[in-house]
């Protein structure tokens, strides 16, 4: 399969760029997919936030969402314009700032607590962000820069246990541990999977990584068993009916919302599900499946597959190791998160609060995601210039 994909890529690429300049290159296509998903989110989020609240409320929600998109577009343009090499030069500083914010958010007077979890740093007047949002991207940038440096040392440098696994592994573990302390199990596991995936891709020994993961299973086991709410989520996942008032309730409402969509959906006005908590965040996909039916849901899945496809091409064509790794990391973060979100809402994995990138409510998450996609586009554009 990978062989076929590669051939396809080799054929389409020159055609698009040289022969028909009006057609957008990979950067343009990524931008179009992104714009489509963001547009969808404006409708879905607004409807979910104002379930049964009348027309005025809906208009306000749309305006709020459009404002967030406008701010996010600035971040997108920044990512698009700044040569991506800039991020490599500042990767260590970005990582340090991320560490600082991840630690700060745990300080009671700084981080604000929602439902027992400290995930937000707020500046007042509704402005704030979740440090784990930029941190996961900063970590990816640092890993990409690290792999780039290893490559500079020599071809086999990543096979070295210390450089290829131990050092980056410890940095990943530190970031993930801070996220777990908030606690934000969803983002932490996403970051861990993508982080270790990246160093594996860069050339770390599969055997060594596997052994390390095996060695850390007792820790992961402890983390789950020692946290009643995580354990409950797993038991709820196995038997949602047992805990119908808690997590099982959410899951059943989510499944019912998806099931009610049918092929064509009930229409944008019917997205509001008063009984589904956190509909505009952790269960936005259920709302979309209800509003736009199987067709709408399939289009969303297709959009992320397409984004993944374009990301793969950008990774392959990137001019240097850093560009490749960064493109792979950003694509992986966004598409894996989308997959986990869909898996949670469809009851395919245990419930964990994870948003759908670009689509779920929340301005700060949209801001950093759009910025990272801008960076992805810049890598794609650099490829074009250098050829």
């Amino acid at each position: 399969m990978s062989e076929a994909m590669l051939k396809d890529a080799a054929h389409s690429e020159p055609g698009c760029r040289a022969d028909v300049p009006a057609l957008p290159g990979p950067a343009g296509r990524v931008a179009v997919i992104t714009a489509a998903l963001v547009l969808l989110s404006v409708i879905a989020v607004s409807a979910a936030e104002t379930a049964g609240g009348g027309e005025a409320g809906f208009h306000n929600a749309v305006l709020r969402r459009l404002f967030a998109v406008a701010v996010g577009s600035i971040a997108f343009m920044a990512g698009w314009k700044i040569p991506y090499g800039f991020w490599r030069k500042n990767s260590l500083m970005l990582l340090a700032i991320s560490f600082l914010t991840l630690v700060l958010v745990l300080v009671p007077s700084v981080g604000s607590s929602v439902g027992g979890a400290r995930r937000w740093i707020r500046f007042g007047a509704g402005v704030g962000f979740q440090p784990s949002d930029p941190a996961k991207f900063a970590l990816v940038i640092w890993i990409a820069a690290w792999c780039h440096r290893c490559k500079e040392k020599g071809e086999g440098a990543m096979q070295n246990f210390r450089d290829g696994l131990l050092l980056p592994g410890m940095v990943i573990a530190a970031v993930v541990a801070l996220m777990l302390l908030e606690p934000d199990f969803g983002t932490a596991s996403l970051t861990a999977v993508v982080g270790f995936g990246l160093i594996l891709i860069a050339g770390a020994s599969v055997l060594q990584t596997g052994l390390c993961l095996l060695a850390s299973t007792p820790v992961i086991h402890l983390l789950i068993v020692n946290s009643p709410y995580r354990m409950r989520r797993i038991t709820t996942f196995l038997d949602p009916l047992r805990d119908v008032r808690g997590g099982g309730y959410q899951l059943i409402q989510s499944l019912a919302a998806i099931a009610s969509g049918g092929i064509y959906g009930l229409g944008p006005g019917e997205g509001g599900i008063a009984y589904l908590p956190a509909a505009s965040n952790d269960f936005i996909f259920s709302v979309i499946a209800r509003q736009f039916g199987f067709i709408g849901a399939a289009v969303v899945v297709a959009a992320f597959i397409w984004l993944l496809w374009e990301g793969l091409h950008i990774t392959i064509k990137a001019p240097d190791m850093f560009g490749s790794m960064l493109a792979a990391g950003i694509t992986a973060l966004i598409c894996t998160q989308a997959a986990v979100h869909i898996a949670v809402t469809t009851g395919s994995v245990p419930t964990t609060g994870i948003t759908m990138p670009l689509v779920s409510a929340g301005g700060s998450s949209l801001f950093f995601t759009l910025w990272s996609i801008g960076v992805l586009c810049n890598i794609a554009l650099s490829t074009g210039r250098k050829t």
């Binding site: 309730y249 099931a259 993944l308 392959i316 001019p319 997959a339």
Partner: protein, 580 residues
């Protein structure tokens, strides 16, 4: 093959190996996304009704469409049930003329016009309550009016046929029908009946499980009447009484005073809602003496006839003077119990020593929860043996420095009546499914209960308890036609600031068993801080014991001890005791 990228010499590019791994990872992620699309199709096309139905069932439940289970006493008398009521609510966005609608509703529902008007004018919500839990007849009226935007929904109201009689045991529910206290809270899951709902798809489930308690409304009401008579006479802060089946541990009655109305629990102060029998622990005082003696007899350090010098009513031990109410010379262990001599029992305690005493109390179940199926039990304070000294031995021997709840006390006495074996107190008789009539759970007699003392020791102490009533401090607890036994106790309460014992705050108790030869019931009566002048347990609580025992034994058809006098005489001859 992947070297198609152009790059300058000094910039490292991704190698073929890296690109291969990238493609593998991307392929895996793509497969997952495709599989998830398949999963969505499965949810939407493969019997989607099952999810919407489940969700609807959940919603139905939250709107109280199921009826809560009933609670009965052991004879099937109804203690708590749900009566159909309707709640009126409105969607303000649908209401045509808020003021006119409010005016009509206010008149029909006998409610405040301004409140309803304000609610109907709200524009930030599509749901406002107009009035909750109105009677079916008024609800019918509202329905007939067909006001636009005004709706009704079934919301049952809990009804207690016996009023406040069972309030402390049965408890109450909140307005949404969730159990907050007592049996209602402890068996919320069973009464709410939701477990069954989800398992069977939600069509058949109209009612939760019914619960049968071991309590008996007749015994409960005569317990309350007897207690209230003493409350009137001695005007205590609080009082409670308990009847326990001495053999099975079943609670036959459990009464607390002051009472409250379970239909309007918010109408009385919170302390009225306490079930002091379980929730409050006290140093009950002399009622512990028979237990001390039983432990001493069991360990073999004393015989029933062993004599102790009671020092004419005042005995100095170290810097402390132990006093008796009356002056005694030499008393046998039997007499020590009958006369309730502090000095005598203090010496028994000292003789027992820390280890034997502590272990003996443990065997009687002190320091452990009783395990009864009710919430909020407090186990009290029994200090670790390592922190005991000689003074502890003395104090604990007559029931100080050991804080227990009334249930633990009654349980220890039940062990004496049950041939020395502990019983398991319980209030739950069975849980049944009203739809099928099946018994979901029934409580058999638990096995392997621990032995507190040997049968011989238990019988010996029972004879001592009989003497307490016949000639000792508890003569007012005597019951006509039956031989009974028990022990008086006058515990000293802590001062309100918890510094030392108060001089005028007592807890007066009588615990006893009836009939003495084949004990059927344990009865405990306590009055906390009687203010009528008297405070001795025998005087304040004894008469209530007598009345409760008389009524209960008659009701349970226990044959009277017709040979009472004859038995009493032989007993006196056997033991060579004397009567004043």
């Amino acid at each position: 093959m992947a070297k198609g990228n152009a790059h300058s010499g000094d910039v490292p590019a991704a190698t073929a190996g890296t690109l291969r791994r990238v493609k593998i990872a991307a392929a895996i992620l793509m497969l997952i996304l495709v599989a998830l699309a398949g999963r969505i199709a499965q949810i939407q096309f493969d019997n989607p009704g099952q999810y919407t139905r489940l969700a609807a069932v959940r919603r139905m439940r939250s709107e109280s469409a199921t009826r809560r289970g009933d609670i009965y006493d052991r004879e099937g008398r109804l203690l708590a049930t749900s009566v159909p009521h309707w709640s009126v609510f409105a969607d303000p966005t649908e209401v045509y003329d808020p003021f006119e609608t409010a005016r009509i509703l206010a008149r029909v529902l006998n409610a405040d016009l301004n409140t309803i008007n304000a609610r109907l004018r709200r524009r930030d919500t599509r749901f406002v309550w107009i009035k909750r839990q109105v009677s079916p007849s008024r609800a019918e009226w509202v329905r007939a009016l067909e006001l636009k935007g005004v709706y009704l929904r079934r919301e049952d109201k809990r009804f207690h046929p016996f009023g406040s009689l069972f309030a402390h045991v049965v408890g109450f529910t909140d307005i949404d029908g969730r159990g907050l206290e007592g049996v209602e809270a402890r068996f919320e899951k069973e009464l709410g009946g939701f477990e069954r709902l989800s398992a069977e798809g939600g069509n058949r489930a109209e009612k939760g499980y019914d619960i049968y308690l071991t309590l008996d409304a007749y015994i409960q009401s005569l317990t309350r009447d007897a207690l209230l008579r003493q409350v009137e006479r001695h005007r205590p802060e609080a009082a409670w009484a308990l009847v326990l089946d001495a053999r099975s541990g079943e609670v036959l009655s459990m009464v607390n005073w002051p009472q409250y109305d379970p239909g309007a629990p918010a109408g009385s102060p919170e302390r009225n809602r306490r079930n002091s029998i379980l929730a409050d622990t006290y140093e009950y005082g002399s009622v512990l003496k028979p237990i001390t003696v039983a432990i001493a007899l069991e360990s073999g350090i004393v015989e029933p006839d062993t004599e102790f010098d009671c020092h004419r009513g005042a005995w100095r031990f170290g810097r402390r003077t132990i006093r008796d109410v009356s002056e005694h010379g030499n008393l046998t262990v039997r007499d020590i119990v009958a006369r309730s001599s502090n000095i005598g029992v203090a010496q028994i305690g000292l003789k027992l020593g820390v280890e034997d005493f502590w272990r003996g109390l443990n065997r009687f179940g002190f320091g452990d929860p009783s395990g009864i199926e009710l919430q909020g039990e407090s186990t009290g304070i029994m200090r670790a043996a390592s922190r005991w000294n000689d003074h502890s031995l003395i104090s604990i021997a007559f029931g100080q420095e050991i804080s227990i709840n009334a249930m633990a006390l009654a349980r220890a006495f039940a062990a004496l009546g049950n041939d020395g074996v502990l019983v398991q107190p319980r209030v739950l008789q069975k849980i049944t499914d009203p739809l099928s009539g099946d018994e979901i759970r029934s409580e058999g007699r638990p096995e392997n209960l621990q032995r507190a003392v040997s049968k011989d020791v238990a019988d010996e102490v029972m004879r001592m308890l009989a003497r307490v009533v016949e000639e000792g401090t508890g003569t007012r607890a005597a019951v006509e036609g039956y031989r009974v036994g028990g022990k008086t106790g006058t515990g000293t309460l802590m001062c309100k600031d918890n510094r030392g014992y108060s001089k005028d705050r007592y807890i007066s108790t009588f615990v006893g068993l009836a009939p003495i030869d084949d004990p059927g019931v344990v009865i405990l009566v306590s009055l906390k801080v009687p203010t009528g002048g008297d405070y001795y347990g025998g005087i304040v609580a004894g008469p209530a014991f007598s009345e409760i025992a008389q009524g209960t034994l008659g009701y349970l058809k226990v044959p009277p001890d017709i040979q009472k006098d004859f038995l009493a005489r032989t007993w006196i001859n056997d033991y060579g005791s004397h009567i004043h």
